[in-house]
């Protein structure tokens, strides 16, 4: 403000300052004006994490990776997401009186504006953007010693593992995807077209190979090395699953071979999801829920009727209305007598006089307002055995892998052949049918079925779904191939001004 300085000078020059006070004031005024600087306007927050100053050391990188695990918990712990994956399959059905969006995804009537899809898409891409941020900024994080260096390398590996897992979910739900590998910084130019499914898989495979080379086999459990983080074995298992999903059976088999013998089947099937039985001998990768830390599982409240919760003595939990998510009649009938997996997965309750089934797989008697202490097991040894069998095709060794899983299901020692329980080439059905059936029994309500069906020839998958819809709803529309992937959320298409295209059929 030059003019005012000049002004003050003029005033002085004119010499009518009769009083010293006047002069002092003018000096104060001039000093005040000149002392201000733009620093005064640069006010940084100190009550929150300013992004500009973050990632100054490897610990902060680990915090951001922890955030990815937390986001994953938020995705898979959400009923809406469960609805898109498990309820979409023939294992469960909606009660028909639920939120419109959840009914529509169950009956294959959803539109591209369905809120569940937008949420699922957004949450998964939020995780991807966070992973991208870690992967892109980690190389610049300075470290002081080899331990810290290891943290940096490992963080990139974990971020890539979680990014791969997220893209794997998305590509199975939506098909072609915008492949984002860099953090979003320019909001005015954020649109990106979709790339092919095979390109997405190429990224997933490359991420998993990077993860395999940078992740440890196990964690020692100390701070920053908590058991439950992604391991090399988890990455190899996921790689096997990804290859199998693409139909690359030899690659799947060889990836899964690394895991054989590294884990074991738990003696008791019900223990896999028992409260507090985290990271158990069968589990390769869990999503961790823990009520003590305000991160308990709440999803299962929707499965358990209030009356059951009350009779079991569960303090908080249980769903008072019509359960939004119920076992189908069809799935109740797939178990043979003596198969303990049935009683560990569902049960019946008295719904005003009629006995109806509910999902009983995830029950924590001690659950309180903070939720249940039950982890969602994403990758487990039984899956490895069944995937390996599927990858290797029909042979005696494959039947042995399947039978190990079956024997445990009937309470037997998995390693000892049992002529009553064991199946073989002589058992009825095709090999594929047998594997699929065993998978359905083993992983009931565990988010596997929908993606498993997608490995079948589309016509087979569709006939299964059509049969399911007809039996549950009677007049359900007939599905065609487009139904095997969801519509791209309309907001993605609208905001990108059509750069992002819709899947055919929607």
């Amino acid at each position: 403000m030059k003019t005012k300085k000049d002004n003050s000078r003029d005033i002085m020059k004119q010499g009518f300052l009769k009083s010293k006070i006047n002069m002092i004031c003018c000096i104060v005024f001039v000093v005040l004006i000149s002392s201000c600087s733009t620093d005064f306007l640069d006010v940084a927050p100190d009550d929150r994490i300013d992004a500009a100053a973050f990632f100054s050391n490897p610990d902060q990188l680990v915090f951001a990776v922890n955030g990815l695990y937390a986001s994953q918990r938020d995705i898979f712990g959400d009923l809406n997401f469960y609805d898109l994956i498990e309820t979409r399959s023939d294992n469960t059905k909606n009660n028909g009186q639920d939120q419109k969006e959840r009914i529509e995804t169950d009956t294959f009537e959803e539109t591209s504006g369905n809120l569940l899809l937008i949420k699922a898409w957004t949450k998964n891409y939020i995780l991807i953007n966070n992973a991208n941020t870690i992967i892109s900024r980690a190389p610049d994080v300075s470290f002081n010693n080899s331990l810290e260096e290891l943290l940096v390398t490992r963080s990139i590996g974990e971020a890539k593992f979680l990014r791969a897992m997220t893209y794997f979910t998305l590509v199975n739900m939506f098909g072609d995807l915008p492949i984002r590998t860099e953090p979003t910084n320019d909001f005015n130019n954020a649109n990106m077209a979709r790339s092919s499914v095979s390109d997405v898989y190429a990224l997933i495979v490359s991420d998993l190979n990077d993860a395999i080379s940078s992740l440890p086999d196990t964690y020692d459990g100390g701070s920053f090395n908590e058991v439950g983080r992604a391991t090399k074995l988890a990455a190899q298992t996921l790689l096997g699953k990804v290859q199998l999903q693409q139909g690359n059976k030899p690659e799947a088999s060889s990836a899964l071979q690394n895991i054989i013998g590294r884990y074991a089947l738990l003696t008791n099937y019900a223990d896999i999801h028992a409260a507090g039985n985290d990271s158990n001998a069968e589990s390769i990768f869990d999503i961790s829920f823990n009520p003590e830390n305000q991160t308990g599982l709440g999803l299962n409240n929707f499965f358990i009727p209030t009356s059951v919760a009350g009779s079991l003595g569960i303090v908080a939990g249980g769903f008072a209305g019509k359960l939004p998510c119920n076992p189908t009649q069809d799935v109740l009938d797939i178990y043979e007598d003596g198969d303990l997996r049935a009683s560990s997965s569902f049960a019946l309750y008295d719904n005003n006089g009629s006995m109806e089934p509910y999902i009983s797989k995830y029950i924590d008697i001690a659950a309180a307002a903070n939720g249940s202490n039950i982890n969602l097991v994403m990758l487990r040894y039984a899956d490895v055995l069944l995937m390996k069998a599927e990858a290797d095709g029909e042979n005696a060794a494959s039947y042995e892998l399947i039978n190990q899983v079956r024997r445990r299901a009937f309470g037997k020692d998995p390693s000892i052949a049992d002529f009553i329980i064991d199946i073989s080439a002589a058992s009825s059905g095709t090999f594929s049918e047998k594997v699929m059936l065993e998978r359905r029994r083993e992983f009931l309500f565990e988010n596997h079925r929908w993606f498993d069906l997608k490995r079948l020839p589309p016509s087979e998958a569709l006939s299964i779904i059509n049969a399911h819809l007809t039996s549950e709803y009677g007049d359900a529309p007939t599905m065609d191939a487009h139904s095997l992937i969801y519509p791209i959320p309309q907001s993605e298409i609208d905001i990108s001004d059509g750069l992002v295209t819709q899947n055919p059929g929607y």
Binding site: S19, G67, K119, T122, I126
Partner: protein
């Protein structure tokens, strides 16, 4: 020294030119003054004559009544004269002021303050921000009210004083519990997400509404409302929503005064203002009809046939109102002072609600020399607010009022076993809590402390050149506590916790301001200049901390460690901002006829992105006092006339301090039982974020007719706000849902008309009428390329071409009758609501679908106020009315909470009276049958979209001035008694409660699964009423005012 000599010297002084040795003058004047006061003889009298703003009035004629003995005041308002007797009466008179008579009565110093004649509005001094001006010289649009319009009313804060009095100013009392803030806007809401609040300036300190509310109304000298760019541009980046300047009273030299005002009264919720709900008989009848003519089991098994509880009667009460204000003021040549204290105890109309305010003010000006004045102004305030339930403002279900409306009348207060009954006693019913139980178990207390303190230094450098510097600080703290102890073993009421809980929170705001201005006034012939230049710096810090716990182990102890340690949680936040400004203003007038005002302010604000932190705002205005033109002098109808045109830009920086900065937020996670700390990308930030800019045009016309006994002011305004701060959608695959940016524009345009007339003016009778009307036409011009923004699940929308918020849903077109073909409708029974099938597809969609249409606009299109004042001798009766029309609200309470498909009680007027019963009793054709409401289309439809038009008898006051002869005997200089009623009655079709009530905003737009932009409002409060607002209290008071 003899008295005569003093007088001589003083007279001599008048003849000195300013160049004469000033030192003597400086030193002697005060000494002389002091000596005067000790040694004056009986027949000599002197003093000073001031106007209401404590400015000396030169040329006032002073006449000893009944004689020819008279003098005039000098340039500084001083006079001295000899009178013939100590019983004489002096008559003070001057053009533009009401004349005043004062009895000498042994006084030697008689200083008076002349009241400006109301009919001469043009002479009133208006505070313009960084200065004052006579109204005649104003080129902008500024409305003012003064102390006289506030004093006798039982109001606890300035907001209530302004409602209905100022054109263009809309004050809605959203929540009528004591201590709640009103929602204020000037000339419509000019922003979608950023603040719409005007800037409050208290004695020069720019601050917020909470501070303004804490001011003792008795301390207020004037309130000036700056509305157009010409007036507000001097406040630059904070001026876009208008500026309200509050000036407090000061001491007057030579005039000691002790003023005491006591007001006592009582407030209640008249039945006419409450929502009428069904009594037991009606309730049973309604449910019987709904159940096909058979009394349903839940009633048969639970009603004793007698119980009929009026739950509202149980929660409403007569709330006591007490207000004690005392002030002492006075001064001499060196020092003037004002000391005041105020205590207000205002009980709410609902049990347990109330506020207490304690405030004080010390304002002292010290004239260090003839050219240097130092002033200090300290105003501490403590306010405590309490209630016994979650507030009506933030709880749909659990406020006492909501509970009292919904709880079935067939339930007794207590069950046979002595426990409180609840709606859940009726099987299948919503567990609405019992207000008596809530009242017993819930405590909410809040206390505020604020201190506004300022020092200023004023130096007259030379004739007309003034330097002023001030340093002031505003320190405020607030503390709140919520304590809840549910009855053991009872069913958990809806919206209440099953376990006991305690929450305590405190926040502190510290703000300091330094302002330095130079003002130069000069008259050269026909040219008059008034130049202002200045530099200001302001810094604000707001910090808060809170802690919560639950499952209290030792009930009654308010300590967070008493709860279950697992449930202990805490939070804190800090917001900080800085503002640096340079300002300048030129006022120029030529021949007193042609006026020009040019204003510029350059602001640098820390809250914006680093690329966009400084901006310059400015305005220019022209005025033409055409009544001064010679061709106008020949008629005498129009005695005053002025045309004003102003145009300029102002800004709005009302966004959270750090919205422009990207942040990481925290996420909890645990591997097994090992808790770990996690982070995730939070606020996306935007380094280019900048101000909303308002471009404002104002064309005004002032008329004074019939010797200025009729004054009319017209103003046309057209305000366009551009670069709106809006969240813009971004492809979700980016990892964000939206970010805050500057896009879009909207406009408010309208007309303000103010009319004031003095119909009767005789010795004994005076009758004055005033009124104002403001229209506002609001339109969203652009939403950054979007056609609309949805909120509240799409039931509320902002649409280009529409008002700021629209309500969307299917439109009800009637009630189904027997024989109608209603195959498209969800309910096809006679008596059901029929909706319009807009797209003729044979189906009725809900509000999101094709049959959704605009069913209500939320902008207030018209506001008006009307006041009148009749004076006969010592009696004065005044009345104030105000009203509004054109705004709709979606009454979610009527439809969703107190709805016919539930077993809660419901609005008699909305659901019961005039309902369809059968073909013989088809009702009013508007209200459906008891079972005629369809929940598939019904959730949001035109049925729940209701008009909020009202007009209200806001205040009636009767004043009696105790005759001078009587008050003299009591040793009082004046005294008056007054009685007043506030909110006597509201005329409205709105169903129940307060038509101005709206839902509090639910906070910022939540990004799905991700971050949230804190405290950016989503505007939901514009369109949604749920729960219903409490009726405004009707307050009767009786008061007395004594001047010693």
């Amino acid at each position: 020294m003899s008295n005569k000599k003093h007088i001589l010297m003083k007279k001599q002084k008048l003849e000195y030119s300013p160049n004469i040795n000033k030192l003597r003058y400086f030193v002697f004047t005060p000494i002389l003054c002091m000596i005067f006061s000790f040694t004056f003889a009986q027949q000599a009298i002197n003093g000073i004559v001031l106007d209401e703003n404590s400015q000396p009035i030169p040329g006032v004629s002073i006449l000893e009544k009944g004689t020819n003995n008279g003098v005039e005041t000098d340039f500084d308002g001083n006079y001295s004269m000899d009178v013939s007797s100590m019983n004489s009466i002096l008559v003070f008179s001057s053009i533009g002021f009401s004349s005043q008579e004062v009895a000498v009565e042994n006084q030697t110093i008689i200083s008076v303050t002349l009241q400006e004649d109301v009919s001469l509005l043009e002479e009133v001094v208006v505070t313009t921000g960084y200065g004052t001006k006579k109204r005649r010289d104003i080129t902008g649009s500024i409305a003012s009210i003064n102390a006289g319009q506030i004093d006798s009313r039982p109001i606890a804060s300035v907001e209530e004083a302004l409602q209905g009095m100022v054109p263009g100013l809309n004050i809605a009392q959203r929540a009528s519990s004591p201590g709640e803030l009103g929602t204020i806007s000037i000339r419509g809401l000019g922003s979608i997400t950023a603040g719409t609040q005007p800037l409050w300036v208290i004695d020069g300190f720019p601050t917020d509404q909470r501070n303004a509310q804490s001011i003792n109304p008795a301390d207020i000298k004037s309130v000036d409302v700056l509305k157009d760019a010409s007036s507000t541009a001097i406040y630059g980046s904070r001026g876009a929503n208008g500026v309200i300047i509050i000036t407090t009273k000061s001491g007057i030299k030579g005039r000691s005064n002790l003023n005491l005002t006591i007001t006592n009264g009582s407030a209640s919720a008249p039945k006419s203002a409450r929502m009428t709900v069904l009594n037991a008989e009606e309730y049973v009848q309604f449910h019987k009809e709904k159940n096909g003519g058979i009394i349903p089991d839940f009633i048969a098994n639970n009603w004793d046939g007698v119980t009929d509880t009026d739950w509202q009667d149980l929660i409403f009460r007569n709330g006591q109102y007490q207000n004690y204000a005392i002030s002492a003021s006075g001064g001499n040549e060196k020092v003037t002072y004002l000391l005041s204290g105020n205590y207000v105890d205002q009980q709410g109309i609902v049990m347990g609600e109330g506020q207490k305010k304690y405030s004080a003010r010390a304002k002292v000006d010290f004239k260090a020399s003839d050219r240097v004045t130092v002033g200090i102004n300290l105003a501490p305030n403590i306010t405590t607010v309490g209630r016994k339930s979650p507030g009506t403002d933030d709880s749909d279900w659990a406020s006492l009022y909501a509970q009292s409306l919904m709880l079935a009348p067939i339930l007794p207060i207590k069950r046979g076993n002595g426990t409180f009954s609840m709606n859940s006693d009726l099987p299948g019913s919503l567990p609405v809590g019992n207000p008596m139980e809530t009242m017993q178990n819930w405590e909410f207390d809040q206390s505020f402390f604020s201190l506004l303190a300022g020092m200023n230094l004023n130096i007259e450098i030379t004739e007309g050149l003034n330097f002023m510097s001030s340093f002031s600080a505003n320190i405020g703290t607030s503390k709140s506590e919520t304590y809840y102890l549910p009855t053991v073993g009872q069913t958990v009421p809806i919206a209440m916790s099953p376990v006991s809980s305690y929450n305590t929170g405190q926040n502190q705001s510290t703000s300091w301001l330094n302002e330095n201005t130079i003002n130069y006034k000069k008259v050269i012939g026909d040219h008059s200049f008034d130049l202002l230049g200045g530099y200001t710096v302001q810094h604000n810090i707001f910090e808060s901390v809170s802690a919560n716990t639950s499952e209290l182990k030792v009930p009654g102890v308010k300590n967070v460690n008493i709860g279950n340690s697992d449930n202990l949680s805490g939070a804190n936040s800090k917001n900080e901002s800085s503002l640096i400004s340079y300002l300048g203003r030129l006022n120029y007038s030529l021949k007193d006829k042609y006026l020009l005002t040019a204003t510029v302010r350059s602001d640098g604000s820390s809250v914006f992105g680093e690329n966009n932190r400084t901006q310059t705002f400015g305005s220019a205005a022209l005025g033409w006092r055409f009544s001064e033109e010679s061709f106008f002098q020949e008629q005498d109808l129009v005695t005053n006339g002025k045309l004003r045109i102003s145009y300029g830009t102002t800004g709005s920086n009302a966004i959270p301090s750090f919205a422009s900065r990207a942040t990481f937020s925290t996420l909890e996670h645990a591997f097994g039982s090992n808790a770990v700390f996690g982070t995730t990308l939070g606020n996306p930030g935007n380094s280019s974020l900048t101000w909303e800019t308002a471009k404002q045009l104002d064309i005004g016309l002032d008329f004074g007719l019939f010797n200025n006994r009729l004054n009319i002011v017209f103003d046309y305004f057209n305000n366009e706000t551009t670069t709106l701060l809006l969240t813009k959608g971004i492809v979700p695959s980016s990892g964000y849902a939206s970010f805050l940016t500057n896009i879009g524009s909207m406009r408010n345009k309208g007309l303000e008309i103010t009319l004031n007339t003095e119909i009767v003016r005789t010795e004994d009778w005076k009758w004055y009428i005033g009124g104002n009307i403001t229209t506002n036409d609001q339109e969203i011009l652009d939403l950054g390329g979007e056609d609309e923004i949805q909120n509240f699940f799409g039931a509320l929308r902002r649409v280009v071409g529409g008002e700021l918020q629209q309500i969307r849903g299917p439109k009800v077109i009637g009630i189904a009758r027997v024989g109608d073909d209603q195959s498209a409708q969800h309910l096809q029974t006679p008596g059901a609501l029929i909706y319009e099938d807009v797209n003729d597809d044979g189906k009725i969609s809900n509000f999101l679908g094709a049959d959704g249409q605009l069913v209500g606009d939320t902008n207030v299109d018209l506001i008006y106020g009307f006041n009148t004042n009749v004076r006969y001798k010592n009696w004065e009766l005044s009345a104030l009315l105000n009203g509004q029309s054109g705004a709709w609200v979606y009454d979610f309470f009527l439809i969703q909470l107190g709805a016919s498909f539930r077993q809660t009680n419901l609005s008699k007027e909305f659901w019961y009276d005039g309902r369809y019963i059968d073909e013989a009793n088809p009702g009013n054709g508007i209200t459906p049958a008891a079972d005629g409401f369809d929940t598939a289309s019904g959730p949001v439809s035109s049925f729940g979209s209701v008009k909020t038009d009202y007009w209200r008898i806001r205040n009636i006051t009767l004043n009696y001035d105790i005759p001078k002869s009587f008050s003299d005997k009591l040793g009082l200089s004046s005294a008056k008694i007054f009685t007043s009623v506030e909110n006597l009655h509201t005329f409205t079709d709105f169903v129940g409660g307060n038509p101005e009530a709206r839902r509090a905003s639910a906070g910022g737009p939540s990004l799905i699964g991700g971050s949230q932009i804190g405290s950016v409002t989503d505007g939901r409060e514009l369109g949604l009423n749920s729960p219903p607002g409490l009726p405004l209290p009707r307050t009767w008071t009786l008061g007395i005012n004594l001047n010693f």
